[in-house]
Symmetry: D2
Subunit: 366 residues, 4 copies
């Protein structure tokens, strides 16, 4: 490539292909003879969402590529974190964008809604693709027809969805990356038993505090002691690999025992220089999950405002469907749940120096 | 009062009583010998929330006072709208404030959490008071003990709560205000039957569109026709006062039939000059309800991040409790549901001039 | 148009013309052989801005149309307010969007920046058009070449710009609308002299307060008395039509004397039922002006972060140019300045009933 | 300390000292006989600001302590970054909070404004303290009286201000930390000359592109070539230590030559694992500077809205004063300007391995 070409001139309008972008709004109401003023807003808001989806997919694909190897370079974790932070800023914007659509009143919307039938957000290929890439499992999807969720896409799009369903998702890639952490096999540091001991100490102390509290009534004490006992049982279970596998088999959990232990270790010792990047990675992922959930939530509120309990153009029960996906389509819930397993820093068993080295070695691409 | 006194000098520090405000942070961890850096943040964040609650109560009390009369002055509706808009800006800030507390990691929090036992957000008198004033009913509250929710307050505070429970809430005041709208009795305009006719026309047209669509499979058509029929039944029920009363008796609804009809009329004809203020009022109320719900939701996400499924300091199951209140403690849900009853503007029966005058008379009560 | 056509089917993808929208990103760096990952973000961010500009222009055109008459219907003021509120929500989003572009580091940007030469935001036809429609005057524009600001647009676009420059802008339309307020000619209420008297009373009281303050040193008193005197002079000038005209001639002001007086009256008596809509209109306009200014400001901060004091691709001095436009391109500054003229509600001369009626007559023009 | 005491009970109300916090709002207007409804808002908004200032100072003090040593531990940089990120979230909230105060109309404000005389935000001790800690120099302050800015504080507060003025500010601490970077003395890598060569290559290429562009007119070419030449001169100067010192002497710059070179190196090679934390630190600082500037800007817009060009209660020219501080009180401007010195990643001279080691050694607390 010649430098001459590199420095050839370019105009803002052609660079951004504005002739396409700005010529892509054809309100159906106008076409049908009576323009509804707000239909343009409706179109543009959704086009902007699709542009952001494209950007999010661009980042997501690049991040997944960085993890499609057994040797993830530390420098690449840094890149992954930056790109996922960008995704999070975009999702924050998408959440705020709901306010813009809400400047349209329900009656404004009803002025053109019947013309959209049966177009629906269900038909957003990019959003479905994103869900699959993140790791949403087919069987977790809320369905309202006998057809698979992708039956309205083009053949090419359906093939891509099926290919992605068959490939490792971001969830799976992160799980494998976590499982490769070698800490369980380290000589001289039995993290699991040391941590269980620390938990036990802590719960004992809490139990005593409850029993001797001057503030609680007997009834409250009984209730709280029961809770303390439940937590004890909970922790005992959690460190039991067999129990964990059973939970997975029953669909109550998804992240493998080994990966869960690694994620716990990273959360606990995340300020250690060599764990800082893994720590930031886990956090940016859970924040992304939280933000996407918030977006679904705000979106479902907006649909409620526009339609109440009316059926959506796509035939779903609208608001109810969306509220259901708020919870069910959350993918990294097991990462959030790690917090249940945390104990105060002051109770943490110290990491032995060998372990730090090994971890460092690992994350520095052995 | 003399002008001299009016213009006596005042200093920023004493005016804001900063000696009190800025001397009210005593981290327990510091007192107990080992300061946890983040405890100051935890204290200040909650103090800021309480200051906002105070402001919200200030607005709420003034708004409720404006409605404690059978003759609500139009000028006062304008004032009420402005003040509730202010409340909404404050709640938006409260939602964003969750991000600030989230800069604290779960381990940072665990460093001092055990010292807070059994202090808990449940003990926020101002927030409980706000809930009662908005109209949260005792029996709707999620409870985790045998005690009433206010048993930890001072006697004076308990008395205030009981007094407020016995007084008309904002919900009740708005309901009465809506019920006083005289439109049902107007000669020459039977809103109910005209509206039912319009709905029926619209649904018939939709039914035809489904039946003749070239896009839908037979199975989808069947499903959608069933939905269309359901909507038909739904509307028939909704305009049936007896059915409505039964729904209320079963706890599925709360807003009276008469008030529901008035709210529907206002939503439908809200651009009429004399209905603009009532329309803005209903909207600012439902937005407030939505924002408070969003705040609960974000708050519950934050607790999940900090504690996972751990038990809260107040003894509740923390995250689960909070998620439950997100839905159950929403108060103006019947106002949101009005949207279900709306039809496109083009299908609306025109308002007769007499009606406009009567409505005007009511809201102006000149 | 047949109902059959109305209810023909439509798919999300074709309705939103996604084949165009999502096929309009061709990074120059990729084309030239070495894709810079962040160029896609750069393209999409700007495309989103252009989509929002399109929406803002859609609202702006509709609002201007409502004011291109001597008889502005009250219902239309309500519509104008809603649409401008929408514009404001969009501009808030545009401001937050700056954060998204800021997730790109300066080095990321420099990876493809040289390929963009000489494309530049100056070449955004839609933004230029918006500025003209709002009322930015040619002579107020900061220019960095001898060419008119529109010389890089297509002939058709240049014609449209020239046509718009020759037509009344939103500023001019609002000014005329304000000037048509008949209050100055009302018998029995000389607003100007009554208001001047009220101002004079207020300033006298302030003067006394300063003189008798026990808090201020003599030097401070002298300074403040001078300021009080300046304010006195200021008000005297402000109510002097000849002085006002001179200020306009010198380019220090723009809004006519008559319109200024009307805007002042609306600000002062904005809670009167019949002035509520005009009041909301003036406020939504000044908020829009403020938000657009904030957006320019954030945009200029972002350019600073990306380029420091480097020259922009369009050849401007980048950051400095943008900072200059933050102030200079603000259009409704005279509306903000009305606040200088306000006095406390308790000092206001009461509106006579005739005046209320006349104002009502005007705005209702029944 | 006994565990018993540690687990003694505590109540939400007493823990947060709500009896103080919620009893600190005494509207002057109420005291003087006629309560202005909005004065409570005014008080609470400012109290919230002061609570946030307290939190920001808490973080700032802890961060400065981490840098008051010649050996900054890498782990401490991580802590500093997290705490400054928290400050940034708080400042974002403070910016959004301006919207809340703006729900008060100018007339609402004027209802009680005269009673506040001469209280003023100038009298916020915490904010002045923060400015000094960040590094605002006395001589950079905009003053409107002959008195030092702290003359209205208590003696104790004045002493603290003077002590802080005499101690190293955050600016100075960062400058020293940067100056200790040993890279200039490294054998075998003359960063300065290698970088100057890279810059020169880049500018030559740009010059050629301009000369051969088919898009630009001769006039534009001339202008751009002049700009390219200016940039050349600019870079030549920038790498000239003597010139740099002269700029500092003239008050045009502040950051020392050595520190500037270190900051440039960090910006350029910030993705190197061992430079990631320093890179994040510089970025969080410049973002903080930008956010504080944005807050001043929004604050000054709000004052404009409330008062127009009226004199502030503190006697300043209000809006003008505040707008002036937006620019003048920005402290880390030299850090922003580093962007001017950046060139594309592809043009960067590669870092020699020895250098990486040395840098690593340094930042890992030698």
């Amino acid at each position: 490539m010649s430098d001459q070409k590199k420095y050839s001139s370019i105009h803002y309008t052609s660079y951004l292909q504005l002739e396409k972008i700005l010529d892509a709004q054809s309100p159906r109401s106008k076409e049908l003879g009576k323009e509804a003023h707000e239909e343009t807003l409706f179109i543009i808001v959704h086009q902007v969402y699709e542009l952001w989806f494209k950007q999010v997919l661009h980042e997501m694909e690049s991040v997944m590529k960085l993890f499609q190897t057994n040797n993830v370079d530390e420098k690449n974790i840094d890149i992954a974190v930056s790109r996922l932070e960008r995704v999070n800023e975009i999702v924050k914007l998408m959440i705020q964008q709901v306010r813009v659509i809400e400047t349209m009143t329900p009656l404004d919307f009803l002025d053109f809604r019947s013309y959209l039938f049966p177009a629906s957000g269900f038909q957003s290929f990019q959003f479905r693709k994103l869900e699959v890439m993140l790791g949403l499992k087919k069987e977790k999807r809320t369905s309202y027809t006998a057809y698979p969720y992708y039956h309205e896409f083009s053949q090419e799009q359906q093939d891509e969805i099926l290919r992605l369903e068959a490939s490792p998702s971001l969830f799976v890639l992160l799980e494998s990356w976590l499982e490769r952490t070698p800490f369980i096999d380290i000589q001289g540091f039995d993290f699991k038993s040391k941590y269980m001991q620390a938990v036990s100490n802590m719960l004992n102390r809490e139990r005593q505090a409850i029993e001797t509290s001057d503030y609680l009534t007997d009834q409250e004490k009984a209730m709280r002691l029961k809770m303390n006992g439940d937590t004890d049982t909970y922790f005992a279970n959690i460190f039991n690999a067999a129990f964990h596998e059973q939970q997975i088999a029953e669909g109550k959990m998804r992240l493998s025992f080994k990966a869960t232990m690694a994620a716990l270790l990273i959360q606990l010792y995340g300020t250690e220089p060599l764990l800082q990047l893994p720590y930031r990675l886990l956090n940016v992922i859970t924040e992304m999950d939280e933000l996407l959930t918030s977006w679904r939530y705000r979106h479902s509120q907006m649909v409620m405002r526009m339609l109440g309990r009316k059926t959506g153009t796509g035939g779903s029960s609208g608001h109810s469907y969306l509220m259901e996906t708020v919870i069910k389509h959350q993918i990294f819930i097991d990462f959030h749940n790690i917090s249940t397993l945390l104990i105060p820093r002051s109770e943490l068993p110290p990491l032995p120096p060998e372990m730090k080295r090994t971890l460092g070695y690992y994350f520095n691409h052995s």
